[in-house]
Structure formats: C-alpha cells, structure tokens
C-alpha cells in the first residue's frame, strides 16, 4: 500500500503537477483537495504521512491549516510542507512559525519537490518526541 499524501492547493494545474510527481514515484497515493475546509474534512479519513499545502488560500489558509494540524494530538506528527510564491515572505514566515516543517517557493521543479518531501519525511521519522509518523 502506497503512503497517503494530502495535497491542498486551489490552482488545479499546480495541484495536478504536485500530485503527478508524487504518484509517479509509486510510493505515494495522493488525496487532492482545493481548499482548507476540504482539507479539514479529509484529515480524519485516512492516515497521511505528509501534507503539502499552498499557503495563500481563501478562508482557511495554509498557515491556519498548519496551526490546526500542529495543535491536534492526532495529526501533529504529520510533516507539513508549505508551498508559496517567493513574494509572500510574511505568509511563508508565519506558516513556518505555525509549525510547517519545510517550504518550497514557486515555481519549483519535480526534483526540488521530491527532495523537500524526502527531507520532511526523514525528519518526521526520527523526531525527538513522537516516533509515530512514517508508516
């Protein structure tokens, strides 16, 4: 069974891009949603090894989603990679402060995405506190 990744991104093309890269590895099965509310809905419905989220989304942003995940006992071990344009530095900083583990600035290549994903998963697999993620 491939590991499940939750991809949250409101641009369809970008979402498709991220998903196809992840699924092409054969290691991941991607669940795609296009807004923060759907991300909240999707969370309890599977065990995710990773969340990749856009930062700047209406309503529930990537920052708010990250904060929610980190504050939640059930999800707090899941690494969160945030993607954002280079121009929104403030947003990116806040996402990291809210507990995102890694970030990627758009535009990025497939290699860059896979590298960040790999780093995020390695970090999550050997945390000081909860060795739970990385099924």
């Amino acid at each position: 069974m491939p590991d499940k990744v939750l991809v949250v991104e409101d641009s369809r093309a970008m979402r498709g891009f991220v998903s196809s890269i992840l699924e092409a590895t054969g290691q991941y099965e991607v669940v795609e949603v296009d807004n923060g509310f759907d991300a909240l809905r999707a969370l309890p419905r599977a065990d995710y090894v990773l969340i990749v989220t856009d930062v700047n989304m209406p309503d529930v942003s990537g920052i708010e989603l990250t904060k929610f995940v980190r504050a939640n006992d059930k999800y707090k071990a899941i690494p969160v990679v945030v993607i954002s344009t280079d121009s929104s530095r403030t947003d990116l900083r806040r996402a990291l402060e809210a507990g995102a583990s890694h970030f990627l600035a758009k535009p990025f290549t497939a290699e860059e995405l896979l590298e960040v994903v790999a780093r995020a998963r390695t970090a999550a697999a050997s945390p000081p506190a909860e060795p739970e993620a990385g099924a």
Binding site: A13, M14, G36, V60, E64, K74, K106
Partner: protein, 752 residues
C-alpha cells in the same frame, strides 16, 4: 483544434476559465465603483487569486509571455488588495486591458502562425500604476487589543483586512462555531451567508479545542458596523452568544454578550447544522453564559460517523466536475446517430416480419422492445446534448467589458443590464455568437445611445441604458439587445431603399415598418448615407445576419424613433442534432433543416411565371423566387433541361432564414427525421449550398443543405434583374395548394 497537443489544450481551457473569473470580478468591482459603493474586498482578492493561479499555470506550461504579464499584474493586484494602491477607474482600465491582452494571447496559442502579442506597453502601464504606491501599512498599534495568537496565523492579506475593518470604524466579533466535519462545507456556506449580510468575514481559524474526529470548531473573525445584538440574532442557529472584541489601544477590553437562548437539543440531529457560540479572545475572560448549554448538547448533535463515512465514499470524490474535449462528445453523438439508424433498420425488418404468418406474438414483443429502445435512445441523446450546454454568461461578460470600454471611449454614460446569463446553449453556438452580439452592441453604443447633452435635451435620463437579455422560449433561445437610444428612422431607410433600387416607390408605400427595417440587413446598405450617425445603425448588419443564419437563427428588429431599438435573435438550442426534412431530386436525397422550412406546397406548372428568365411563383400575394436543386448542383448532366414529371404536381419546399424566403423545387418529399450532423470532408467543404452530411438508414450518406447560402444564391440572381418586384404581385396568379400549415406570405417576424 486538432493540431494542439494535450497539455496545451489543458492549459488553454484552464487559463480561459481563470481569465473569465478575473473578468467577472473586475466587472463587479467596476459596477460597485461606479455606483459609488464601497467595493467588496473579496472581489479584489478573488481577482488577485485568479491572476496568481494564472501565473502558476503559465509557468507550468512554459507560456512565458503569459507568465510575465501575470507576474507583473499579480504584484499590482497584491498591492491593490493590500491597500497600497488605490483602486480607481485608471487601475480598472489597466486591469481590463490586461484581460483583453490575455484573451488575445490565448487566441494566439491555437494558431500555427500568429504574431506574438506585444505586452511591453501594457507592462509599462502596470508598472506606472504600481509606481505611486502609498507605502506600507500603519504600524501595528491598531491591533494591540488583539491576541497575538490570532495575528500570528493571519496571512498578510487577512491582517490587512483586519486593520482595514478597524480603520473603517467597524466592530470586530469572534464567532465560535462547531461543525460536523463531514458536512462542514454546507454548514460553512450557510453561516457565511448569514455573516456576510452583516459585514466582512475576515478569516476562519480552525480551533484545536475540538479533538473529536467528527466535529471541528472554528473561530470566525467578523468585522461589522452593526451592534452585537443584531449580529447575534442574525447568525442565531442553535444557541448563540456574540462576543465583541474591543480594539484600538492598550488594555483593550473584550465584552462578552449573550443573546439568543439555546433551544433544547434536537432529537434527530441535522448533520449540516453549525453550532455556534461566541467566545472572548482572551483566555481569562469570563465565559459567555451559553457556553455550558452548548457544551452539553455537543455530543447529541454529532452524527454517527459510520453512517456517512461508508466505504463507498471515496476520498477523491471531493471534486465534482470533469473536463471533456468537445470532439469526444461529437464522437459519442455520431455513435448515437448511428444507433438511431440501426433502430430504423430494425423497424424496417420488423415490418417485413409482420407480413409473414404466425409471427404476431414475436412481432408484438419486438415492437415493445423497440419502443423501449427508442425511448432510451432519445434520453441518451438528450443527456448528451445537455452535456454540451454552456451558459451564455461567458459571452455576456465579454460584452459587459465591451460596453465599459466603448462607453469610456465615446464619452457616453451607459448602464448595462444583464439578465438570463444562466440560459444555456450548445457550446458551439455560444462560441459563434460572440461576434454578432459584439457587433450589435457596438452599433447600439456608436449609433443608438446619444451623448449626455443630447439625451438631456430630449428629456431622457442622462445615462444610456442597454439591456442584454436571454431566455428560453420552447426549444429555442431568444437573446435580446435593447437600447434606449435614438431608434431608427424607418422613413429614411425607406427612402434609401428606393434610391438604391431595392424597392419601387409604389411597393415601398405598402411596406410596413417591420419590412422596411429589414433593408438594413442588405449587404452594404447600412453604410449608405441615410443610415449614418443621425439615424441609427452603423455598418455590418448583413454580416450579423449571415452569422446568425449560419446558426439556423432568426434576427428581428423592433425600433421606435427617439425611443430606442431592440434586436432579437432566436436560436436553436443545439446544432448537433437537428430535425430534417428529407427530399429527393433527380434520384439524389438531401436533408433540409426543418427549422428553416416554412411550409411545403404543391404547385402546377401554370402557376410558375418566368420573369426575365427567372422562375417565380406568387404565394398569398408575395413573390417567391424558385430554385431548382437539380440545376444548382448540376445533377442533370450534359445540360439537359429538366422536364417536370407531372406538371400538375410540382413540389416546392419554402425555406426562409432571417428575412428572406425561397422555394426549392424538389421531386419528392420523403419525410422528417432526426439527423446527426457530421462535418464534411475537404472535397465537399467548399461546395456552396452544402452544410454537412448525415447518415440515413442502410448506410446511405446524405447531404444537408445550407439554406442560408441557397437563399442568398437565389436572391442574388433575382436581385440583379429586379425580378423580386413582379408587376401585380399583390393579386397574383397563385393557386398553390398549401399542403402544410405554417406562416408564409406575411412579413415574418418570429420563427415558425
């Protein structure tokens, strides 16, 4: 469309969507601006997001010029939404121009050899707009009353909106709601609608408080001018308390207020009902009184998770639409058409079987099955047609941009009213409609709507009005463009028509307004001196007519001098499947689109009059030129003259498109049938008078006549000789026995 590779098609269709979304947001902002209203920041944010998505999309597909333009535009929109640049008409001009430029770029992608769009001038204008930036946000003092933990999770934009609400003197409220996780979208929508009526929803903060799997708590920040009691009443659901945040200085207070008594817990919980309580931001504040009750009934409201979250519910099913290439639908449509042929063949075989002895039972069974099949087939056909339907909204948005642009260019104030944007038509028809409608609108603005002073002098409101309406009438769609401008002076049109030899003074005297106005559709007519800016329409109504005719549509004009004009276009809902009249001539079978057939009549040879070498008949007082399909398509070979098989029984099919009608002489009327239109191969594409091909039973390919071209052809011949006007056409020799009902003769204003 065929030459494009997949990613490019994908790029184009998504980019198109995004640009349309951008355009819609800008149009709404423009409307609010002009009305002098405070614009809705959500619209500006949505415009920013659209461009942001476009940029990502373009970068992904290496569409460099689009990337470059959207990058520049994104920065400007970001500055606009963050309040660093003021949104005014100048900024909107640039944004609208960007929309047009994007459209031109996208159109260029489809073409093999297209001149690249020069975006430099636009980039300069965008840059100039950003140049006068007002600088950064005021320091954070105004937020000092708020909890840091809130501000730290706001995006820059959300923070700006928060400040903006404070600057506008609005109160801030924190609404706490608990939702069933599975129905959160429904619950949020309902609550959002209520809250938006009071002010601006700044953000939603998912709260970590509720750790249960099936519920989620949200803190919602709301900015509003209304008092706390009004809001609490307005968003009341189950048990509501509203909490107001007091900001604007150190030591700001948080005032908890309790409203709306909690109702007893519902016996059967509704999955979508949000539960709302309002909490103070500061942790150590006094709890609102309702806290307890709402906490107590939290559990009963939770629905049984397993009921909904069955295995059937896929995680991926959150998106509800698919995108399909039109050519795939065409393919399916063809298959359905072929199935229809198979079905007809079955019917034929069944008739054969019926003639044999001892088959009655089997025949009855088969007939039942056949009936069922044909019902399902027509449902299938209808279902597929529905898939091809798109709302007219996209075209209307384009027209709204045009009205804005032309209005600004011409210095006329114009208000555009739009209704029926949701009316649906076949995708292909919608695409083809945009040019004719743009033409009509352009004419209405150039020649219909008067200048402000002129309007005031005429006792009209200074702002001109154009109404764009669409609605369904039966199985047709009507689109109307109505202006309250000058209207057309039909006396002048009549004079011009006489001067140009289109009609005689005697005949013209009998023509009513409806008939006279139709002269504007004669090629070249409207460029003539009589119909200049002083009297009405501008150039190109003949082109409009041709385009509408090609869609099997009709166009009508209604005008009152000094009061305005209304142009109505009536269209079939789809062109993919049409009802056709099947006819035979010289052993060849043709189909004629039934919606352009007015009636079929039988005439005698003695009814046919030859005027200057052209055959005409007179039908109920109106002269009708005849066209022999056999001669038109050279079916007789070596110049043989056609004799009539039976001089007492000559079939004439009267066809009319838009304003004109012609009689087609045929040998045999075969019957009516639904046919699926297939595109022609290159050999036949250039044959005038042929619109397409279709298949009838027994694998017979049959050509579909292009009535518009045939009518033009017949009229062109007659026009040059002046034979359209036959002496004594009023009393006529017509003794044609009409074999079908339907309008004929009289001026035709609305379709059959």
């Amino acid at each position: 469309m065929t030459g494009r590779d997949r990613p490019s098609t994908e790029f184009l269709s998504e980019a198109q969507d995004v640009i349309e979304e951008l355009s819609r947001n800008l149009l709404e902002l423009d409307t609010q601006q002009r009305a002098g209203l405070q614009y809705d920041p959500d619209l500006l944010n949505a415009a920013f997001r659209a461009v942001h998505s476009l940029k990502g999309l373009a970068a992904l597909f290496n569409a460099d010029s689009v990337t470059q333009l959207s990058h520049s535009l994104e920065s400007t929109l970001d500055a606009l939404r963050l309040g660093k640049i003021e949104l005014g008409q100048a900024a909107l001009d640039v944004l609208f121009e960007a929309v047009e430029t994007f459209q031109r770029m996208l159109a260029g992608f489809g073409e093999e050899r297209s001149t690249p769009v020069d975006i430099d001038p636009l980039l300069t204008r965008i840059l100039a707009l950003s140049g006068g930036g007002a600088g950064d946000e005021a320091p954070g003092d105004s937020l000092s009353g708020l909890d840091d933990s809130i501000i730290s999770v706001l995006t820059e934009y959300e923070e700006h909106r928060l400040r903006e609400n404070i600057r506008l003197g609005r109160r801030l409220f924190r609404v706490h709601a608990s939702f069933d996780l599975l129905a959160i979208d429904v619950g949020i929508e309902a609550l959002k609608g209520k809250m938006k009526a009071f002010g601006e929803v700044i953000t939603y903060l998912p709260s970590a408080d509720s750790t249960s799997d099936d519920r989620i708590d949200l803190d919602i920040l709301l900015g509003s001018e209304r008092p706390i009691t009004a809001i609490a009443d307005g968003v009341a659901e189950d048990g509501v308390t509203v909490h107001e945040l007091v900001t604007g200085g150190p030591g700001a207070l948080s005032r908890p207020v309790v409203v709306a008594p909690a109702r007893p817990p519902a016996p059967k919980p509704q999955p979508s009902a949000p539960r709302i309580k309002v909490e103070p931001i500061e942790e150590d504040e006094v709890d609102p009184i309702v806290e307890d009750t709402s906490g107590a009934d939290r559990r009963p409201l939770a629905i049984d998770h397993d009921d909904i979250d069955g295995e059937a519910m896929s995680l991926k099913s959150l998106s509800q639409t698919v995108r399909v290439d039109l050519s795939r639908l065409d393919h399916l449509m063809n298959l359905i058409g072929e199935l229809g042929v198979v079905q007809a063949n079955f019917g034929g075989s069944l008739d054969q079987l019926r003639l044999r002895d001892g088959t009655a039972d089997v025949v009855r069974d088969l007939q039942g099955h056949l009936r069922t099949m044909s019902r399902k087939l027509s449902l299938l056909q209808q279902g597929l047609l529905d898939v091809r339907m798109v709302p007219l909204g996209q075209v209307f948005d384009k027209l709204a941009r045009l009205v804005r642009k032309l209005g600004r260019e011409s210095g006329k104030e114009i208000r555009l009213g739009i209704s029926g944007s949701n009316t649906e038509l076949d995708k292909l028809i919608v695409e083809e409609l945009s040019d004719p409608l743009m033409h009509i609108i352009r004419n209405a603005i150039d020649h219909g709507i008067e200048l402000r002073e002129e309007r005031i002098a005429a006792g009209k409101p200074p702002t001109g009005k154009i109404e764009l309406r669409a609605f369904q009438r039966g199985n047709r769609v009507v689109i109307e463009v109505e202006d309250d401008g000058r209207g057309m002076d039909w006396h002048k049109i009549r004079e011009t028509a006489i001067r140009r030899g289109l009609t005689s003074p005697e005949d013209a005297a009998d023509l009513g307004m409806g008939e006279v106005v139709e002269f504007i559709f004669v090629p070249g007519f409207s460029t003539a001196e009589a119909v200049t800016t002083t009297s009405g329409r501008g150039v190109g109504m003949d082109v409009v007519k041709t385009n509408i005719s090609r869609l099997s549509g009709m166009i009508d004009v209604d005008t009152v001098l000094g009061r305005g004009s209304k142009i109505s276009i009536t269209l079939p809902v789809t062109l993919a499947i049409i009802q056709a009249l099947v006819i035979d001539t010289c052993g060849q079978t043709f189909c004629i689109p039934l919606n352009s057939v007015l009636e079929s009549i039988m005439v005698r040879l003695s009814d046919i009059v030859t005027v200057e070498g052209h055959e005409v008949i007179s039908l109920r007082g109106r002269t009708l030129p005849l066209l022999h399909l056999s001669r038109m398509f050279g079916l007789l070979g070596n110049g043989a003259e056609q004799g009539y098989a039976d001089p007492d029984r000559i079939y004439v099919v009267i066809v009319g498109l838009a304003q004109h009608r012609v009689g087609l002489v045929v040998d045999e009327l075969v019957g009516q049938q639904d046919v699926v239109i297939k595109p022609l191969g290159s050999a036949l594409r250039s044959v005038p008078g042929i619109a397409g091909a279709t298949e009838l039973g027994a694998n017979r390919t049959v050509l579909l006549l292009d009535v518009g071209t045939l009518v033009d052809e017949a009229l062109a011949r007659v026009d040059t000789t002046g034979a359209l006007i036959v002496p004594g056409s009023g009393s006529g020799s017509g003794s044609g026995s009409a074999s079908g009902p339907g309008p004929a003769g009289e001026a035709h204003h609305h379709g059959p």
